[in-house]
Structure formats: structure tokens, C-alpha cells
Amino acid sequence: MTAAARIIINEIKGYHRFLKFMIALVVLGALASLVRFVFGLGATTNLNDTYPWGLWISFDVVTAVPLAAGAFTLGAIVHCFHIKKLEPLVRPAIVTGFLGYSLVCVGLLLDLGQPQRGWHTMVYWNVHSPMFEVSMCVMAYTTVLFLEFLSPVCEKLGYHLPLRVLRWLEMPLVIAAASISTLHQSSLGTFFLIAVDKLHNLWYNPLLPLQFWMSAIFTGISIIILEATMVHRYLGQPDESELLEVLARILPWILGAYLLVKFAALAFLTHGPLFDRPGLLVLFVVEVAAGVILPMLMFMKAAHREDSRMQLRGASLVIFGLVLNRFNVSMFGMEQADQLIYYPSVTESLVTIGIIAGHILFFVLLAKYFPIFEHHPETVDYSIPDHCHAVDEHEQAKGAEA
């Protein structure tokens, strides 16, 4: 056997080992969630009356939603702001978004006490509830993402008529995606406005919804950078770092604006002590310094923006900062000084790990079997196949003439 063949075989073996590992994690997560339905939330999670929300809300919902924000951000950048050259990045972003939101729904249903009544939100409206707002938006947006995701599926299967309908719907869907996302990304911040005297002043201020929305945008962009770089490295897809440079140029502006809003809110809109809890202060400083200021300074230098490795590092920092921010708001900042500290149980963690593994697994498989990366809009055949041969004779006659 030649050395080249051996390398290829090793690569394939590695790929299969990776798939098996991911499948194992997903199965473990599924089993753990089954345990929740048999023994109840109290037995399987570390939640209690003091900490009614734990890892499943903090990560699977509050963090996963902004992590899936790439689809609407890029959709708006490419189609509304008309930066057409970024088009090759759109499809992977939509797939990530669709998977992300589907798994948010899964996580949410596991966390509900009565998941079989999930449809109640559609029937018994309470417009004063941020949770109502978010659940309606998540349902609507998952539908939008599903429709956008249908394009590669129809291309793969050669369904021409739906393809034409979907292409006609493209712009309305992009605009709907951006508007719906604006609403629920910010409303996730509104959740915590009710936690007056509970959420620490470092995070509690009336501009929290605005901050949640802005951070969703820069996280969406960073996720696209991370995903495109990883896919280039490990799935052998083309190097898009030239396109990513455009995104890296947008990032520092949004990070800067976010920083301004955050500090303005901190300076003028908070009531009560800010520096009374050293632990929380450290978390806050890490979140802002490592997750916002550092990547902002990095991406302000052209040399860093062009370097693929620095792109990845900056994007990872932003994502780390966002995850920490969402945990600070929904978990750490809510813990009171005199109470026991919540930490997730093994079952809770297994479910969340399973959800993350499921996301990666499905993404890899979809990328393999559907036209997600080799997408060139101009090459797609949108014509309706002529099963009745209505034009055939005419065309043939023309062809004969020629």
C-alpha cells in the first residue's frame, strides 16, 4: 500500500471514529433526557425552588439562541446591505441556525414541566410576558429557517417548482428572519428585567434587551468565522478567509457600539452597589475584557483581520465572552450571596453535551450530503422541467434549423 493511500484511509477512519463518538454522545444525551421524564426534574437536575432555572435554560436557550444568530445577521448583510460576495457563507449559516433553533426547541421542551402543553402558548396569549414573545418568535423563526433550509434539500432532490417558489420567497424570508430575530434576541434580555433585586447590578439595567440584541449580532458574525475556518480545516472545504476578512472588518464597530451602550447603562442607569461582590466583579471584568475589548482591538488591526489564525482566535474570544455573559446574567448574577450555589447535575450536563454533539453531528452529515458549501446561485437550474413536452417540438424544429 502506498503512503498516500494509507493517509487517506487513516483520514477516513478518523472521520468515522469522530462520527461514532458524536453518535455516542447524542445517545447518552437522549438516554439522560429519558431519565428526566421517568424520574422527574427534581431527581435528575440540581434545580430547586431557589434556582428554578439552571443549565438547560442558561445554555440550551439563553446562550444557544444568540449562538444561532449567524443566519439572520448574514442574511441581512448579504441581501439587505447587498454585500453579494459573502453569498457562499450564507447557506452554512442557515444550516447552523436551523439546527441551533431546532435544538433550542428540544432543550426547551425538556425543561418544561408539561412539554405536552407547549401548544398552549399559541392559544392562551399573554402579550405582557417576554416568554410568550420569545416562544412565538422562536416558533416563527424556526419555520422561516426551515423554509430557507429547504433550498439545498430541493436542489439535492431536483424539485424544481418548490425551488422557484423558495427563490421568490428569498427576500421576504430574509427580512422576516432579521425582524423576528431582533425581537426575540432582545426579549431574551427582557426576561431578566423582571428579576429586580435578584440579578446583580453589574448586569441589571433597562438596556439589557438592547445589549442582548447587539451581542447576538456580533456573536452571529463570529460563529460564521469560527464555522467557516473549522470547515476549511477539517472538512476540506475551500478557504474563505478572504470573505471572512470582510466580516472581521464589521466586527469592531459592533463590539465598540456594544461597549458604549454597556458602559453608558452601567454609569447612568444602574441603582445600587456595583462592587460589593468580588466574585461577580471578576466574572464581569473577564467577560468584558476578554470577550469584547480584546477581540475589538485585535480586529482593528488589518494584519490580524487578514490572518486566518487570528480571525479564528478573535472569533473564539467573542464567543467565549458571549457564553460567559449569558451565564453571568442567567445564572451567576442571579445567585444570592447568602444562598447555596447551584451547579448542574451529571444528567443535566449529559443532556446539554448531547445537544451540542447533535448539532455538530447533524451539521457534518448535512454538509456531506447536501449542496451547502458548493453553492453558486447562478448555476442552479430554476427552470420547470417540461414533462408534457409542450415546447419540445418547437425547440427541436429550431435546433434543426440551426
Binding site: H79, L193, I194
Partner: protein
């Protein structure tokens, strides 16, 4: 959710005079009996004095908290009946996505278990930490003091108020506030000069009188503003933001696409100007 138009003054209200409470816990027993709540296995001593059970739970809607303190060199007890505060504008009702909590016109904040999806937002929102969850069940619901709505609706008093020999008065809210003020004025040395619940969380249907400062007894310091207003100030903008965002992006894309359209048309016109150079190419494209 209650609206600004509902008349708060007639809401049935508890006036709990903790200086008169003897700590007999008849209210705890009456509550368990009327609501048919299970007993809990507990261990003495779970708090100061004879405080038991350690906290409210799915099986315990009300309980007496004990507080040890010294007066004139003597050990004394203070008692404080913990229960749902039945806020005038309840946070639980405003955050519930399916509207399972309602402030009834009689006063009690009531819970419609048939609607609840079990998201626990009410527990996060409640400033007093009242709603509790059935953690032991696979498909849990929320549990909290009902204000004995079934009794109040029929003109009876709540079970705990009926059982209490000394400390609880029950009546219209204005009437109870007047009574509380009268007591504060008549015996200023007996009372700490405050009515807990008059303004807390925008006003509640439970009013407390105490001998000691409120924070020493373990009363939570709570904002005076009705809690639903905190989220509503952001949520009320939702339709406007949706329309602005949708409209703005539509306009933006229309303009951006228009530029491209015009460019294409111009290219088409200029291509017509020189037909001999472009036509062969387009023919080739077709084939």
C-alpha cells in the same frame, strides 16, 4: 394581568399584626387541612426557635417564621407568617406565557393549573419567592397559596384567617390600611412605624405590622414599583421595532437591488447600441 382600571381598594386583604402573633401555627394546620396538603418529614431545629418546616414548598403554602431577639435582657420571640402576598399587580401573572396566573377581582392571585406549561418563569419573577414547584413529579406543576379563593368567592374568610386567634384581620384593602394606621398611631411604642405591603411591589393584599425593623425580621426589601412595569417598558416597543426593522430592511434592500437593476438595464441598452459585438455571445450562452 390586572389592569389599571381594577379597583384595588375593595380587594380582600390580610392585616397581619405580628406583635399579636403567639406562634401557635394554627394557620399552618388550617392551611394544610383546607388545601389537603401532605405533611412533610422535617427535622427540628431547622431555623431559629421552633420554626418548622424549614421553608415553604409544594406541600406548605404558609408557615410561621421565628426570630429570637433580646428585650430588656429577656429572650423574646418574634413571629412572621410567610405566605403569598397576592400583589395588586403580580409579577407572576405578567410573565406567565399562557396567563395561568390571574389577579381575581376579589383579591387573591389565582392559578389555573390546566393552562400551566411548567416553565417556572413565575418562580424567577416573584420578588417574594412564593411559587413552588412539584420537583418530585415527572410532569410537575406550580403550587402556591390560593388565598382560599374558593372560600372567599362564597363569602367566607380564608382558612388561616379563620383559624388565627389573635393576629389576622381580614377585609377590604382601604379598611385594613386605615386599621393599620390607627394602630400605628395609637401605640407608637409597640410598632415599628411601617406597613409592609402597602407599597411593596406596587402594593399587596397582605399587610404586616411589626415590632422590630423589617429587615431584622427577614422581610425582603422589595422595590415599590409594580414589577410588570419593568418588563413592559421594553415589551411595549415590540410591535414598533418589528415594523421599523421589517420596513427599514425592505426599503434598504429595495434601494440596493434597484441600483443593480438599473445597472443591468443600462448594460442591456448599451449592448443594443452595439449589436454586432454582443449578439454572438448571447447565442453561444443559450446553447
Amino acid at each position: 394581568m390586572s389592569t389599571a382600571t381594577t379597583d384595588v381598594s375593595k380587594h380582600r386583604t390580610f392585616l397581619i399584626d405580628t406583635t399579636k402573633c403567639t406562634g401557635c401555627r394554627g394557620c399552618q394546620v388550617a392551611c394544610k387541612q383546607w388545601n389537603q396538603l401532605k405533611a412533610e418529614q422535617t427535622i427540628f431545629f431547622s431555623g431559629e426557635g421552633y420554626q418548622n418546616p424549614p421553608q415553604m414548598s409544594e406541600h406548605t403554602f404558609t408557615r410561621i417564621k421565628f426570630k429570637d431577639y433580646q428585650k430588656n435582657g429577656q429572650n423574646e420571640f418574634a413571629f412572621y407568617k410567610e405566605m403569598c402576598m397576592h400583589c395588586n399587580e403580580p409579577a407572576c401573572a405578567s410573565v406567565c406565557p399562557v396567563g395561568a396566573f390571574v389577579k381575581s377581582p376579589e383579591g387573591p392571585v389565582i392559578y389555573n393549573a390546566g393552562r400551566c406549561i411548567g416553565c417556572r418563569f413565575c418562580m424567577v419573577a416573584c420578588p417574594f419567592g412564593v411559587p413552588k414547584y412539584e420537583w418530585s413529579k415527572a410532569f410537575p406543576l406550580v403550587k402556591k397559596c390560593t388565598g382560599c379563593y374558593s372560600r372567599v368567592k362564597e363569602g367566607l374568610q380564608p382558612a388561616c384567617a379563620t383559624a388565627c386567634p389573635t393576629a389576622i384581620s381580614y377585609g377590604g384593602r382601604t379598611e385594613m390600611i386605615q386599621e393599620a394606621e390607627r394602630r400605628l398611631k395609637n401605640r407608637p411604642q409597640r410598632y415599628f412605624q411601617a406597613i409592609y405591603g402597602r407599597e411593596e411591589a406596587g402594593g399587596t393584599s397582605i399587610l404586616y405590622l411589626t415590632h422590630q425593623p423589617l429587615d431584622e425580621l427577614g422581610f425582603k426589601k422589595v422595590t415599590k414599583r409594580p414589577l410588570p412595569s419593568y418588563t413592559w417598558q421594553a415589551l411595549r416597543l415590540v410591535p414598533g421595532i418589528f415594523l421599523t426593522m421589517g420596513g427599514g430592511l425592505s426599503l434598504l434592500s429595495w434601494f440596493n437591488h434597484r441600483k443593480e437593476r438599473i445597472k443591468r438595464e443600462e448594460a442591456f441598452i448599451s449592448s443594443k447600441a452595439q449589436p454586432e459585438t454582443t449578439e454572438p455571445e448571447t447565442k453561444e450562452d443559450r446553447q
